[in-house]
């Protein structure tokens, strides 16, 4: 049983382009679908409203850990920590890392998320529900988007 998730994807775009899409907070927000309010700065929190219809009142928060230009971008977050009555600051968040490598066809992007064993039990179900609804909605958004473009 693995306690982490790893994804590899080949992107037909130069490393510099992918780097910008990951680390420019406005570009990140476009594909991640979140309206972040401030740029990514190491050690600082970036927060913003989720952009799915019906979910706009929800906020997402992440704390930038590392910015090593065109190599590594990482942050910690509490996925879908949205209950305004709960203080999430005491909880150990999961760590998300984006690593970039130049390949002949463009960029190899490796994404890992780790630290699931630290999600407190009382929150896990809630996060699960949010993810479920939220991401099902996201999938629809992409479908719509792609269909319109075709």
């Amino acid at each position: 049983m693995q306690n982490r998730i790893e994804k590899r994807i080949e992107l037909k775009a130069p490393v510099a382009r992918v780097w910008r899409a990951l680390t420019d907070y406005r570009e990140f927000g476009e594909w991640f679908r979140v309206a972040l309010e401030s740029p990514f700065v190491v050690g600082q929190t970036a927060r913003g409203h989720i952009l799915h219809p019906g979910y706009e009142h929800l906020k997402m928060e992440l704390v930038v850990q590392k910015i090593e230009p065109e190599k590594l971008f990482s942050y910690t977050w509490h996925p879908y920590a949205v209950d305004p009555n709960t203080d999430y600051s005491e909880e150990t968040p999961t760590l998300v890392e984006f690593r970039l490598e130049e390949i002949a066809t463009g960029t190899l992007l490796i994404v890992t998320e780790s630290g699931f064993e630290n999600i407190p039990a009382h929150r896990r179900d809630e996060a699960f529900r949010m993810n479920d609804g939220g991401w099902a909605q996201q999938l629809k958004n992409i479908e719509n988007h792609v269909t319109q473009k075709a």
Partner: protein
């Protein structure tokens, strides 16, 4: 009495240890095993194995059965299935987010 079902966070924590991971791997064949059997080939003591089994029992991943005067331990496959489901969900979310990223940088 079946153990109360544990939250996946408890399950992940229970498996966040090499010895316990090895115990679960040994029990995966579905055959109930004694502490002696589980200690064979392990670098840790019988006492340590007993302690780790207790953690797994508490998390509901391992059940104890009596066979005569011996205690046997067997794996409950359900919690591991739950953990897998949870990771699969998160994994799927990343697949979708990365597909959007791909469309975004390749356009």
């Amino acid at each position: 009495m079946p153990n109360k079902q544990s939250e996946p966070a408890v399950l992940f924590a229970a498996l966040g240890d090499e010895t316990r991971l090895a115990l679960v791997a040994k029990l995966r064949n579905g055959r109930p095993s004694s502490i002696s059997e589980l200690t064979i080939g392990s670098r840790v003591s019988r006492q340590a194995i007993t302690k780790h089994l207790r953690v797994l029992q508490k998390a509901g991943m391992v059940h104890r059965a009596r066979a005569g005067r011996q205690s046997l331990f067997e794996l409950d496959p359900r919690p591991i299935g739950e953990m897998q489901d949870y990771l699969d969900q998160v994994s799927k979310q990343w697949d979708q987010a990365l597909e959007r990223l791909k469309a975004f940088v390749e356009k």
